[in-house]
Symmetry: C2
Subunit: 342 residues, 2 copies
DNA sequence: CTGAAAGCGCTTACAG
DNA sequence: CTGAAAGCGCTTACAG
């Protein structure tokens, strides 16, 4: 039978309270007593029942999620997943607060992080924006013993505990490997469409894309990166304009949001000459339809649900100072084609 | 505050025992009493704390995993994941028994399923082999109220509760979509390498592959399927032999195991003329190395760890008659290229 | 058919 | 520094 605190107490000749003190590393136990308890624990192979402990202390984990209020499909999906987690909250002993802030706004993020700190939550998850002030705010949380997880976009050189998102350099490389093989032999130019190069994840995707293109497909010319601000109308205009000037574009890598605009532009283009090969990011109703219609060839995706659930597991584990199953928390880069849609 | 059994008991004017009886759908409660309790539950929005319930009843879930004893990397990984789950067992209240049987052997599987039934576990997970006797054994488990999950390979028309594995038809289609674009324009023939067409998952992959090849890449001729029995030496010989007879093969879809043999054959082939494009299944040390070396172009993979963890969650949920988060239990078809290796 | 009491494994005031 | 007792939310014999 699995040994319990009672077994340890009996073996060490102490009370339950004392066992509890050493198990939970609380102070106020003589060294000799502590040693006796630790010996009993080792001998009996005791391992604490976290569920029982949480019940006894009526533990709930107050968690704060800070997300941008973008209206693109991916961010909407991310917020929906947080709301689903809020609904599941009671049975998982988490109490999640969702805070929405303007996108790409370091100041707003810092303010939200500082406010979050005052709430003394067990952990905070947020979509990072680069900036020293952000790094400092994260440092303050870490200093206060509050666990932090960056979601979707990471924050380099910060004291965050964990990053729940994909490897964006790998994403860019993968896009290049696929696109380089998909484009017709006759093609010579490739267009790249980002939201903003000021966001770390977009920047990394471009870097990864460029590196593989340069080494594997040097014959393809990469046009200057178009920044569509993740806005469909802007994206549409940019794409139309670019095609007007470069009718020989053989491939497009769309690594940001606003794919609705891209798709609209593609629909008109495909009516004239040959259609370019297209790789986009994030599976949504729009990109799914475009995949099925053959307007997009592949979609690189990160699973918003997985990211949210993983963040919660990691924050809880950090708050309890216990480990996680690493493989389970790795966010995969999903590749969807028309044939393996969910 | 979340209402508890105490609140319900007080509100309905009954004892805790009676609340427990109606919450757990146990008999022996007068209709009027039951109605009063149910009204209180509805009014207060009571939801049972499963963790506390499990603690009170010292619940552990006895689970049985029946896996083939193949020595290929994937099955080894699957068994290792089950062993890891066994090690984690105590903290998740599961007590898992791993049973190994000969592969592709319906008789052995039936015997194992029947034996498992006698142990009265909460649930059974197994890699299915087609056969009416197997379906019958699964039916007997279902009849006995034991939850069942098919792992990796499903069993059509059976009473299993859930399938934890990828959509193999989609896998075959995806392989065709990729391979069709990867092969050189000049190529005309494609080889398909399976373990055995008697196994459902392999058969489905071939079907999916054929359908997309026929509709999208009709110019490519698919050579008769080679059955390598998931054995490296056999596979190597088959591939060498095929290349000797068809030097103009432009692509290979290896959908079974034994990729070590395929890789050895590819190494020698690539020394003479051009290298064929290759898509294989299951990420292992061998296929990873081959991806990096450029001998394999893409690997379709199913995450053994996810499959095992998901099976356990589903079996527990079924035993408790509660739901799961559907999206979390969907086993994805992972596509790995050199650039997005884990 | 219904209830009082003890217990699951752990933690928390409160005494001493 | 240490312990006895009550309690977390639920379930389980055992009485009646």
């Amino acid at each position: 039978m699995k040994p319990t605190v009672h077994d340890i107490a009996a073996k060490a000749g102490v009370s339950l309270a004392t066992v509890d003190r050493v198990v939970n590393l609380r102070s106020g136990v003589r060294e000799v007593t502590k040693a006796r308890v630790e010996a009993a624990i080792a001998e009996l192979g005791y391992v604490r029942d976290v569920a029982a402990a949480n019940l006894a202390r009526s533990r709930v984990y107050p968690l704060i999620f800070i997300l941008p209020n973008n209206d693109n499909s991916f961010m909407q999906a991310l917020r929906d997943e947080v709301r689903a987690a809020i609904a599941r909250g009671p049975s998982e002993r988490v109490d999640i607060t969702l805070i929405e802030i303007p996108p790409f706004d370091a100041g707003a993020l810092v303010a939200a992080l500082e406010k979050a700190k005052k709430e003394k939550p067990a952990g905070v998850a947020f979509v990072a924006v680069e900036g020293d002030a952000v790094r400092q705010a994260v440092g303050a949380l870490a200093g206060g013993g509050i666990a932090t997880v960056t979601l979707v976009s990471d924050l380099s050189g910060s004291r965050r505990d964990h990053y729940a998102g994909v490897d964006n350099i790998a994403a860019g490389k993968t896009a290049a490997s696929l696109l380089g093989r998909f484009v017709k032999n006759s093609a010579s130019k490739v267009a790249v469409l980002a939201g903003s190069l000021m966001v770390r994840d977009h920047h990394e995707r471009v870097d990864g894309f460029r590196s593989v293109m340069a080494s594997e497909f040097p014959q393809l010319e990469i046009l200057p990166v178009l920044e569509g601000r993740d806005d469909a109308a802007t994206v549409e205009e940019l794409v139309r304009d670019t095609f007007a000037r470069h009718p020989d574009i053989g491939g497009i890598y769309s690594l940001g949001a606003g794919n609705r605009g891209l798709i609209r532009a593609l629909e008109s283009i495909s009516q004239s000459g040959g259609r370019p090969s297209v790789i986009a990011h994030e599976l949504s109703a729009h990109t799914t339809t475009a995949l099925k219609a053959g307007l997009i060839d592949a979609v690189l995706n990160q699973d918003a649900g997985h990211e949210v659930r993983s963040s919660i597991r990691v924050l809880k584990a950090r708050a309890d100072k216990v480990g996680v199953i690493a493989a389970q928390e790795r966010i995969r880069l999903d590749i969807f084609m028309r044939d393996n849609l969910p």
